[in-house]
């Protein structure tokens, strides 16, 4: 029940079909029943009216005969009466009519000689009240009754009752009982005919509705299907339009919309491609002059012993800035590669704990006293791109050193069944909660007025995040002002999996003790 309700709600065509069927059934039923009633009443009333008139005439005629026959002798009179009775009965055998002749109740013995009752008829079929009415009335009366027989048969029918005055014997009541089974039979034929006709009508209406629905709904369904395809990225899908009606105009507008969306998307794609190309080209074009610049600077730098101090220092600064420029350029190029989704992973199997050790050693040999590294003894084999993971680590560790204000930097590795996590914790400046969403933004700096200590490019964390995403890993940051920051890189051990659990909690567990100290 509930299920079918859902189906109806979901299908427009089913809804329309059911509605139209319900209406047509109601209309067919109302019309059928009223026609049937009208016809049935008419048939029966007509029969009663005709029978009544005929009976009245017959009785009038019979009364006339009797009145004339009163001048004959007894046997003559008797014969006239008997003839009448016989003819009434014969009529009855033809038209399904029973004749009952009863003497007035108050009359004497002799009066019963003409009493006639069909053998099986139950006399109660003629209600007492009707007999009273007949006795008192001057005309023929009629009444609908059920005609019952002593063998149990029953027929619907009606009574017509009148009075006959038979000379020398007194007044008789005469009743004709008409059976209506023939009429009811024809009525039932009419009923069936009407029923079948109604059924056919409903069926026809159903079929034609279905046909109309198909014409109207199928373009709608097609539109839905095309829209679905469109959503899934097939920008070339269109509706087929073959006619010129309202539905065709729906199709045409739909297609126009699709064309305009497609154009817009293609335009935007081109724009963004152009922009990425531009960044990439600029980066490459800058390389040749930068090479010349670098070589010139190196030549000057090598001669700095021959210059006075200012020029010598200038050449140093020149070299440093060229280094930074170069770094910036390569970071920029990397970012443009991410934007173009052209960055590729070189996935191999390697020991990440060894990589972490190597990175720490290689990065800051002079500051090794600063680091507290806790790494499990056994190697941790994972699938990934060591070049990119090393770059993430370099970024995180340099970041920690730069912002650590000379305090210690903790680096730890923990694993779970399917993940490996690397946490880099510093106890330096930290950052405000409201800065957290911007940490990984390009060129974002926590405090623009703060002096740069590192010459970082401002792209490091952004690239680190992109690298982590390429591995389907997570790079999260926690920080509090003056309590330091904690960056946690969580990577799936197997390439292609995603991170399900976090072996290192983002919020550092040493927080409480740190908070107490402050």
């Amino acid at each position: 029940m509930f299920l079918s309700k859902i189906k109806i709600r979901q299908s427009l065509s089913l809804k329309v079909l059911l509605t139209s069927l319900a209406f047509s059934i109601i209309i067919a039923a109302v019309i059928g029943i009223s026609v049937h009633n009208r016809v049935a009443t008419t048939i029966i009333n007509e029969k009663i009216a005709i029978s009544k008139v005929e009976t009245a005439n017959a009785l009038y005629l019979a009364q006339g005969h009797f009145n004339i026959a009163r001048f004959q002798d007894d046997s003559g009179l008797n014969k006239v009466v008997q003839d009448f009775i016989t003819s009434s009965r014969e009529d009855g055998s033809l038209s399904g009519r029973e004749t009952v002749i009863l003497p007035f109740a108050k009359s004497g013995n002799e009066q019963s000689i003409y009493q006639t009752v069909p053998t099986l008829l139950v006399l109660d079929s003629i209600p007492k009240s009707f007999r009273e009415q007949v006795r008192e009335a001057d005309e023929v009366l009629d009444k609908r009754v059920t005609i019952r027989y002593s063998d149990g048969k029953k027929f619907p029918g009606f009574l017509i009752g009148g009075k006959l005055n038979i000379p020398r014997t007194g007044v008789y009541e005469i009743y004709y009982l008409f059976k209506l089974d023939a009429q009811y039979q024809s009525i039932s034929v009419i009923t069936w005919t009407l029923f079948v006709a109604g059924l056919l009508l409903v069926l026809l209406i159903g079929l034609s509705t279905q046909f109309v629905i198909k014409q109207v709904v199928s373009p709608v369904q097609q539109a839905a299907a095309v829209a679905e395809k469109f959503t899934q990225g097939d920008l070339t899908s269109r509706m087929s339009v073959s006619s010129e009606d309202e539905l065709a105009s729906l199709g045409n507008s739909f297609n126009e919309m699709a064309v305009s969306i497609q154009q817009q998307i293609v335009r935007l794609e081109n724009l963004s491609m152009l922009q990425q190309r531009f960044v990439s080209d600029v980066s490459h074009e800058l390389r040749t002059p930068l090479t010349t610049l670098r070589m010139a600077a190196e030549v000057i730098y090598e001669q700095k012993g021959n210059f006075d101090t200012n020029i010598a220092r200038s050449s140093e600064l020149l070299i440093n800035q060229i280094d930074r420029f170069e770094l910036l350029l390569s970071d920029l190029l990397e970012v443009s590669r991410f934007d173009a989704e052209a960055a590729a992973l070189g996935v191999v199997n390697f020991d990440i704990s060894n990589l972490v050790k190597k990175t720490v050693d290689y990065l800051h040999p002079s500051k090794s006293a600063l680091f507290e590294v806790s790494i499990p003894d056994e190697p941790i084999e994972i699938e990934g791109d060591p070049r990119r993971i090393e770059r993430i680590l370099r970024n995180l560790i340099s970041n920690a050193v730069d912002h650590g204000e000379g305090k210690k930097v903790q680096i730890q590795i923990k694993t779970s069944e399917n993940e490996v996590a690397i946490g880099v914790r510093d106890y330096g400046l930290g950052f405000n909660e409201e800065d957290a969403p911007y940490l990984f933004d390009r060129f974002w700096r926590a405090d623009p007025s703060r002096a740069r200590t590192s010459g970082g490019t401002g792209l490091g964390l952004s690239i680190a995040l992109e690298d982590a995403k390429l591995h389907q890993g997570q790079l999260l940051a926690w920080g509090k002002p003056h309590q330091g920051a904690h960056f946690v890189l969580t990577l799936p051990k197997l390439h292609g999996n995603s991170v399900q659990s976090f072996p290192i909690a983002l919020e550092p567990d040493d927080l409480i003790s740190t908070a107490n100290k402050i």
Partner: protein, 220 residues
């Protein structure tokens, strides 16, 4: 010989290289390389990839048809197909701009270095004559570039040792830090195509899956 369309860079290169005690010929167009090459045969060519006339890769192929002279490509795009194309066309090494002059000079010196190696090495029936700088197979001499020769000699010198790509990079190319291992792959392919009877089933230079390369069974 320095081939670069950027006049200033070319001049700067010549200043640095002259400072390092080398003689430099400058060429600005790709289609002028062969003219100069025929008159002034250089010891080494520094070749920019993007050149007017014909591009660096075509130039590289043209030179290789004639000579085994060492070629170092200069490229602005270290990550693209350019590098592989250049190496496959016959370049021995490449430098990604911007590079440090010391690095360039060191790399050039590695390529020009003719270390006095004595003796004859062999892999199977391959005879590697280090004095004469010749490789002889079935009595026929096979023409190899100096780099290809060095690569083969490095492998043959320690038969049975598996060289990682990084080890070969430092041994043959003189890289100190792990660099692009494509260099090794491409040159091993080129070497195989010259010395192996069937490059798909090598018998002299064998691949050790996941590690690197080693020489086939030695026969002295």
């Amino acid at each position: 010989m320095v081939v670069d369309d950027d006049q200033d860079l070319a001049e700067m290169l010549s200043i640095v290289l002259t400072g390092a005690g080398m003689e430099v010929d400058l060429v600005n167009r790709g289609d002028q390389v062969m003219d100069l090459f025929n008159t002034h045969t250089p010891d080494l060519i520094l070749l920019d990839v993007m050149l007017p006339g014909i591009d660096g890769i075509e130039v590289c192929k043209l030179i290789r048809e004639k000579s085994m002279v060492p070629i170092v490509m200069l490229t602005a795009k270290g990550d693209t197909q350019d590098v592989v194309l250049g190496l496959e066309a016959g370049a021995d090494d490449y430098m990604v701009k911007p590079f440090k002059p010391q690095e360039l000079v060191a790399r050039i010196n590695t390529r020009l270095r003719r270390v006095a190696k004595v003796g004859t090495l062999g892999i199977c029936d391959l005879v590697i004559d280090q004095m004469e700088h010749k490789v002889i197979k079935n009595g026929k001499e096979i023409a190899l570039t100096r780099l290809e020769f060095d690569l083969l000699a490095a492998l043959a010198k320690e038969p049975g040792r598996v060289f990682t790509r990084e080890a070969l990079l430092s041994e043959v190319w003189g890289y100190q830090h792990a660099a692009d291992t494509r260099l090794v792959n491409v040159h091993v392919q080129r070497l195989r195509s010259k010395i192996e009877s069937d490059a798909d089933n090598p018998e002299y230079v064998l691949t050790v899956r996941g590690v690197g390369y080693k020489a086939g069974a030695a026969k002295v």
